[in-house]
Point group: C2
Chain length 244, copies 2
């Protein structure tokens, strides 16, 4: 690897936190609490499925700048009726919809994430680099104890990854060269976007991001790639690789 | 006091860190190391004196958006010759000028600041709210162990305090109402700017900000004011007042 990066920025959904498992778990608790029968596995996959198409509406200019909480809510409103599983629609009130939508603020970290980030923080600037909005990322960091030095969000620059502007915001605002900043992510398309912008890259597979069935189907691509500066099993291995 | 704030944002220079004492101390170490005779007390007061006029050039549109590291450097270049104290000008090299300019990234916290912020962080979102640029504030937080949840900087919104846009950026990006956010500051004009924008306010006097001679002269105004929601002696008293 070339010289060590001065700052590390992290994709969040899937890379730092288990969005699918967290939403299913909170959703099932809600079902039990309220006597609902919502199909949370089906809903969360459809909800996440709406993520890229809705951001693309913003990237393409079809929608003006709209932050992720609002895109999440648009998708939730459209999708929920198909996953009620017999729950009466009126049983889910406006305040419930808000609670469901902010489940994305309360996602649990992968087991290695917090300890790995704490080690990395001792010698590097660490930040998020996410399409989540600032409030979402800040609330999630409090909830999950993600010890960011600062929050980088698509919202600061009004561009969604993989737009070049989003990746370049980290070196620009930190007064660093792109090569002094490394993106850590579980998604190869995200890392390729960062590479095109000149950042260093580190791939961390998260085989359980899409659930056990997806992993068993063989569809998950965990292969290391030479085009990335680093490939590591988890954040602890990354900390060790960087001497932290 | 009205209900407790959800987020606390802090003025940084003077409120969290002792800029004057820190720069004089690092400057004197540099004098000893390099055999210089720079008058650091005179320089730092003149340097800080250039702060508001230079930001006003940006606020008024006389200068395009220019972040604080650049404004600091413009002022340093103009002021240093008058404070060399007989040091040959060529003894101060380009790399020295950069080191001097980034002294603003390496300021020491007041004795109560870090422990107070740690307590406040357990129950509130805490962030900077400073005219410093993002890199400066991030580097300073690492250096001084200021445990921000996130960095709010004039640079994100390209407006210097007391412009309304700067104060309002905290509630807006956090998805909160202005009254849910409290500015903590040692400067009454800063707090008045935040009040006009609808934020809660807390005054913390920092009698030593401008040095012992200034304090002895009686010019320092440490009086509590009813128009602020809180007046406290230091960050520990603030943490206690908020039940942290």
């Amino acid at each position: 690897m070339s010289p060590a990066p001065k700052a590390l920025v992290f994709d969040v959904f899937g890379t730092c936190v288990d969005w699918r498992g967290s939403i299913i778990a909170e959703g099932r608790r809600l079902n039990a609490e309220r006597g609902w029968k919502i199909d949370w596995e089906g809903l969360v996959d459809a909800w996440r499925g709406a993520y890229q198409p809705n951001m693309q509406k913003v990237r393409s200019g079809q929608l003006p700048w709209t932050h992720l909480d609002v895109l999440h809510r648009m998708a939730l409103d459209a999708l929920l009726p198909a996953y009620l599983g017999g729950t009466p629609k009126k049983a889910v009130r406006a305040s419930d919809m808000e609670r469901i939508n902010t489940m994305w603020h309360r996602l649990k970290p992968w087991p290695d994430a917090v300890s790995g980030l704490r080690r990395l923080k001792t010698r590097h600037i660490i930040g998020s680099m996410s399409n989540g909005n600032v409030a979402l990322l800040t609330n999630m960091a409090k909830f999950a104890s993600l010890p960011w030095d600062l929050v980088f969000s698509a919202e600061w620059v009004r561009h969604y990854k993989p737009d070049r502007e989003t990746y370049l915001s980290a070196p620009q605002f930190l007064g660093l060269k792109p090569r002094d900043v490394m993106l850590v992510a579980a998604h190869k398309s995200d890392l390729d976007g960062a590479r095109r912008a000149g950042l260093m890259t580190c791939f961390v597979p998260r085989p359980l991001e899409f659930g056990r069935a997806f992993l068993k189907s063989g569809a998950y691509d965990a292969a290391y790639e030479k085009r990335f500066d680093l490939n590591v099993r988890d954040f602890r291995e990354l900390a060790t690789a960087l001497g932290c």
